[in-house]
Each structure stands twice: as C-alpha cells, then as structure tokens.
Symmetry: C2
Subunit: 319 residues, 2 copies
C-alpha cells in the first residue's frame, strides 16, 4: 500500500443531488461546498452542465462554479455530457471537465441517446475547444468510462471494447480516462484487473482515479483494491447520497465519511479534518429534509484514541 | 490473493441471536441451521454454553448442538465462557469450542468478571478435559483474542500484551488463537499488521481465522486485508444480525450474503450456493419479526451474467 497522498474527490453536489428529487437551494449548496473545502477536501464535482429541464436540481451549476472558484486551493470539477456543456463549463472557468462514455453502447443509447462514435466525436470537439484557450486557462479533461464493470442491459462488456474506447478517448484529446462502476458490479479482483488492463492500453499516467459504488456493500473493499493497484484518486459522496441506489437502505455512492476514516486509519494522508467533515453532514441533512444519509462511521464515532493519518498509531502509542 | 478455499463461518445463531432481545424458537433455529448447511455453509457457531438466566436466547444450545451434529459435513461450533461451559459442550459433542479472552483486562473484568490469569486458567482446564477424551472425540479448541484492535474502555492495547496472551493461550493447550475486532476499530492496515504479529508469536498454523465487525463500514475491506495476509476462515452473520451495533442502521457483524458475494465475485471458492443462501434470509426474517436484517447484495441482487467462483468470469465470457 502506498503512503502517498490520496485525493478524495467529493461528487455529492453533482452525482448525489442529480439522483434525488429534492432540489437543494443554491445557498445550501454553497454552504456545503465551502464547509467541505474548509474541512480539507481538495476536489469537488460541483455540478453538471446539462439542460435545466432535464436536471432542475443542477440548473444553478454556473453560479455554483463561480462561487467554488473563489475557494483557494479547491479543484472545481463538473460533468459535461457534450461539447455544448463543455463550452458552458469553459465559460464558467471550471478546473476539470468530465465527459462520461458508457462502454456499453446499449446503455449509452438508453441514457444519452448517443453511439460510441458520437461520444468520441464530442470528446474531440471538447479537446479542440480547450486547445484554443491560453494554456493557463485550459481545464483538465477526463473521459470517464462508465459501466466498465458491466451493465444492467448487456452484462459484462468485452475488455477489447473497453480498451479500444479508452484509446479513442485519449486520441480524441482527453488528458486521462476514469473508471466508473456505474452499476455496482465491481469486486476487488476485477478492479485490479481492469486498472491493470486500461493502464496497459493508455499508460499509467492516463489512469489515476476511480468512481466506485457501494451497491452490493463492496465499495470500500474495492477502494482498497484500487489503491493496491496504484490509483490515488477516489470519488465518494458525503452521506453516500446518490449513485442509483437499488432499494431503500442500499446506498449507491461510497460514503465520504467512511472512506476518509478508512484511509486515515490506514495511515494514508488525505489532508482532511475528519471531525470537521462529519460536521458537514448537518448542512446536507438540513438542506435535504426527508432524504436518508448513509454511513457507518458517523453513527459509530471515531475509535477511542484515534490518531488520524498515522498507521497503527494507536497500537504503537499503546506500547 | 490466494485461490484456495475460504471457510465462511456463520456465527448468526450464536453471536447474532445473543445480541438481540427476541428469542428465536428452537425449531426456527434448526430450520435456519439446516437451510444454511444445505446452501453449502460448512461451519456454524450454533450457540453458547452460558447460564440460561444470562442469555435466555441461547438456553436451547445443547438441543441445537445435538440437532446440528446430525447434519453431514457440518462443523458445529459453540462458544464457551469457562470450563463449566466447555464440559457441557463436550457432553453435547460439539466439534469446536471457542473461549473468548479479551486482551483488554478492563473489558474482561467488565464483561466476564475475570482477570487474564483467570481466563488462561480456564483454558488450561478445558484443554485438560479435552485431553482426557479418546482422540477421535476431541473437539478443536480455539482461544479467541477479543478487543484485539482496541477497546472502548482502554483504547489500543499494547501489542506486547496481545502477543503474550496469544502465547499463553497456546501454552495452556489451545489448538489455535482467533482474532476478534469486537469494537469495530480495525482497518485494513492494522488487520495485516496484527495477523503478521500474532502469527510471528505463535506460528502461522495457529492463526487461521478472524472475526471482524462492520461497525464503521470497513468490514469487507478488512476481510480483503485478512485474506491478503493469508487467513482462510472468516466469521459473518446472516443478515448481519448481532455484533453490538452502535446505532439503528449500523450493522455490527459482517453480512454473510455480502461476504459470500465478494468472495465468489473474486473467484474464490466457498462451496456455497449464493442464491440458496439468499433464500435463508426468509427463515430468519420470519422468526425474528421486527428485527432489521442488513446487507446490500440481497437488495441489489446478483449482477447480470454473474458466474460465481470464477475470477473475471463475466469479463472473459464477454470477450
């Protein structure tokens, strides 16, 4: 296990909020993002540049990006479904753009009504638009391979197809490709195998992050496998909100609080103040009345004598 | 990761039932144990030989052991708090006896009103009682180190103290020592370090199993670390019942269904028929009205095209 920094990338304000019906007020989103950044979270996906009629929950994304850009040290990430969304993200000066590409073409057609070739074409257009900017203004551009561990329509996707799409995204001009377990089908062995295969195709530097779900309870075990395989960026959602939960009580996204507890207990550095992070739940809970928040660590509390970010610190201190 | 068999040791009928107030009828326990054995579970901790007034839920342990002994291929395990309980377990012909020893002396005094020296003395007495039996009748005798990753009274326990107790249990005549994360304080790094340290003290063959909790959501990640460190037996509870949950919604024990899903998805052999295992939940739910059952896999279902016990089978099949 590596001892270097792990980047916890909070996706709640985008992935979380788009999956639930309650519309969070803009001011509450700002309070959430500010509080989480103040707790030490260094990257937050704050919204998505999709038509407001499709996702009214995220209609204020431009305003949220402008606000978040004012927070020193925070990487402001957004999701963009196409070139049009990317242009809006560029105008708003987001630091990072993520374009999803479902490796299952059936899933891509069902969700975005686009073939693989069409999504790759959008990627090419976005890369060209970014290339026109002065170098210091260019956002980081990630192509995210979704349903990479299988899809509810097609089941497992042939690895050759996944690797070809990863290569095409990089050739189209992406800075990196992400891996996304949209359906919660991943397990620790397939996580390691997939990271190895995609890195083999496009290079280690082009694969640094992963978006895992907790649909079948394996979220943190899969994170452990991803870290073992060398990744350093992990997506999660405060309170585990969002991420297509299958059933009441079944969280979709990995819970940021539990993830940070695990990393810190293992002695890995996250830069996050865990007690302050736990306090952010109150902001989210107040702004989403009636929505369940997930997570075990918030209920259980920290272990007696817990010393964050120092491996076995408690055990050594007890000698 | 090893490809050999993993033994999933079901502790629900003991650890699960002792933690909840509802008393499960004896016939329901038998139906549960029979159904889980029929699904392929090879070891079940079926009860505890403690005074009935302390744990009325487990007062029928002798009858349950006799019943479970009639199931071919099943290892019938019981918890024994002392020599007196071990004598009852021996009379009932249990295959495996587990004596807990809390490595935190404060915890040991609070829970069992016994010092470490007194528990070691009980271990010695139990080993002597076993040695008097004909060789073919001798049960396997495990000393289980509880609160090994820290205790809610003392916090972290000095490793030297843990290793000394492990050695004393083996010297007293235990066949092996188990590790138990009673408080849910473990993380993947400390799990690996603890296994390495205790194996170093008493030998690899004397440490084969671990009892982990999911108190802070790290249960399956900790299992992964334990398997990586070479263990082959993992305790869990059907529906995650029991195991001192801290709060509503916070499961204590690892959920057998999620554990088996993870192992099989990774290509590890468990001998368990997962769809049949999932059906056992109905028996437990019917017999414990009002008690919550935990687990993600039962709600989410198995992935489309899931092929158990073959690593990346779905991915390869999709080629």
């Amino acid at each position: 296990m590596m001892a270097s920094d792990i980047l916890v990338s909070e996706v709640g304000p985008r992935d979380g909020l788009q999956s639930i019906k309650t519309v969070m007020p803009t001011e509450a989103k700002k309070a959430w993002i500010a509080a989480e950044a103040a707790a030490g979270v260094r990257e937050i996906e704050v919204g998505s540049f999709v038509p407001a009629k499709l996702l009214p929950q995220l209609a204020d994304t431009a305003e949220i990006v402008a606000f978040a850009r004012g927070i020193a040290g925070l990487t402001v990430a957004v999701l963009v479904p196409n070139l049009r969304g990317a242009q809006a993200a560029i105008s708003a000066k987001a630091h990072k753009l993520t374009l999803p590409l479902s490796v299952s073409e059936s899933h891509s057609m069902a969700n975005l009504r686009r073939t693989h070739a069409q999504v790759i074409e959008e990627a090419r257009g976005i890369a060209a638009a970014i290339a026109e900017l002065p170098e210091e203004d260019r956002p980081h551009f990630e192509g995210s391979l979704s349903t990479v561990f299988g899809c509810t329509i097609e089941g497992a996707i042939p690895q050759g197809q996944i690797l070809r799409l990863a290569e095409q995204l990089m050739e189209a001009g992406c800075d990196e490709v992400g891996l996304s377990d949209t359906t919660g089908y991943a397990d620790p062995a397939s996580v390691k195998a997939m990271i190895r295969a995609v890195r083999g195709a496009v290079g280690d530097d082009a694969v640094t992050g992963i978006h895992l779900h907790n649909t079948r309870g394996l979220g943190l075990a899969n994170v452990l496998a991803a870290l073992d395989a060398g990744l350093e960026t992990v997506d999660s959602s405060l309170g585990g909100i969002g991420g297509c939960p299958f059933a009441p009580g079944a969280s979709g996204n990995i819970v940021t609080e539990d993830l940070v507890f695990m990393l810190q207990a293992m002695g890995l550095k996250t830069g996050i103040d865990l007690p302050r992070l736990l306090e952010v739940r109150g902001i989210v809970a107040d702004a989403l009345p009636g929505e369940p928040l997930y997570g075990f660590t918030p209920d259980a509390g920290l272990p007696l004598g817990f010393i964050p970010e120092k491996t076995n610190a408690r055990l050594e201190a007890a000698e």
